[in-house]
Point group: C2
Chain length 274, copies 2
């Protein structure tokens, strides 16, 4: 079967078109796709250029391209619609029912209104990112009062990327604290964490996966050994149970899924919706 090209077209970044397309394409996982993003298609000239590019891909392959797009302006959508391929646009489909439900014509403006609300949400995300960086890996614990959530877990269970994702995506203040020998041996958490008990959320991970991750980081020594990994995970589990800390197994999850489960389980509100 010849490889099919998937295009993501947008007058903006293309993130929405990509997200939409990926959700749909995962339902056809036996097929191989080449993926191309064409962002900032915000004029009729750029739309014609994009169409030429897509038609070229169509000529080269037996399989027609599929085009996912988020194009606000009718004129630009009309140009892209003529492409030699399957064209699916969210505004084509969803704008009319929304207009009639909201009893308002849409503004049909490309891009988001860059008013103060956007600058505010940018600042909130940056501040949350700085918070995550400053309160990473248990180095600083004095800001836990300000945290929305404090992730705990063994080394390499996914705490740092999850905190950064929560900050960048949702403006959530997430700190993290690694469980180490002190906690494993005593079976207790330090007072600073016990005080913030209701903010704690645990990450666990399957032993085999943790060994794999740790081996890539530090192949030698005890760090990735079965014995050490099993011990740490068992003790972490006991601590979660002792203090009634909700937790999630990250083994099979993407960063988005881990973040989403934390928000869902803790009820922490998104400070920003990007």
């Amino acid at each position: 079967m010849s490889e099919r090209t998937i295009f993501f077209l947008s007058d903006q970044t293309g993130v929405t078109a990509e997200t939409l397309g990926h959700s749909l394409l995962t339902q056809f996982d036996s097929q191989k796709f080449r993926q191309v993003t064409l962002p900032f298609i915000d004029s009729e000239d750029k739309a014609r250029e994009a169409v030429a590019k897509i038609n070229k891909a169509a000529e080269k392959s037996a399989a027609r391209p599929v085009v996912f797009s988020t194009l606000v302006q009718d004129e630009i959508r009309a140009i892209v619609r003529q492409v030699n391929g399957l064209h699916l646009d969210i505004f084509d489909v969803f704008l009319e029912p929304l207009e009639s439900e909201l009893r308002q014509k849409s503004s049909h403006t490309a891009g988001r209104a860059h008013g103060m609300s956007d600058i505010e949400s940018y600042m909130k995300r940056i501040e949350a990112t700085n918070f995550a960086l400053a309160n990473d890996d248990g180095g600083v614990t004095r800001n836990y009062e300000m945290a929305d959530v404090i992730l705990i877990g063994v080394s390499r269970s996914g705490k740092t990327p999850t905190c950064l994702y929560l900050a960048l995506q949702y403006g959530v203040y997430a700190a993290n604290y690694p469980l180490t020998d002190e906690e494993f041996d005593s079976g207790t958490l330090p007072e600073i964490l016990v005080k913030q008990r209701r903010k704690l959320f645990g990450l666990t991970i399957a032993p085999a996966r943790l060994r794999q991750v740790r081996r890539e980081r530090r192949p030698l020594g005890n760090y990735a050994s079965a014995q050490q990994v099993n011990y740490e995970l068992r003790q972490a589990e006991k601590i979660f149970e002792k203090y009634g800390i909700p937790h999630v197994d990250t083994t099979e999850f993407s960063i988005e899924e881990i973040a989403s489960r934390i928000l869902d389980s803790t009820g922490v509100e998104r400070r920003v919706r990007p």
Copy 2:
């Protein structure tokens, strides 16, 4: 006008439904919405619970809720379709044309197949995040060979969050190097950067905005003064011109937009498509 509630429903994280909904709702920016995400609706019972929750919101307000959903299973979509509100689902609309284009029935499975490819892409994103953290703020410069892109700019121009976003979202290896007095006074870049010239990308920012950002970080001293900020930005601009470094003004842009413009301008390939 009474506030309308927007629900984002998914058998997964809800990120796709949120992204789709936000793109559409920004076209109706005069209206106020309350936003609620209901993730992991992956059984008929959970679907009925979600419908009850949405119908309750409908009763409380004169304006019907709008429900954006990404529900793979027909049975679950059928339950949600009965909601007292406008229901828009991507699978309702886009699955059929895709099935006939790809000449394949979709798998109709909730969630992504968590095969090796997902674990691989998780690992790539984690590794890229570790790279960004290790090569942040010019502290380490020996790994520039491995970088896909190296961001340069004055302090607080948005380098760190952009690098982290590129890593988490796309698995791109992004380092950053802050321009300081050494570069401003000499008007030249250090040899280590000149060697990597084709990987360099500059961030600029409007003086007024930079002063605002810096004031929040360090209100006293010269750091946020008009004179200092103007001098630094002018010198940075000269350096970008001298070395022919592409750059973007981040003042009006979201993190997504900055990241997207960098990929578009440099041609750096996404290592991961989430």
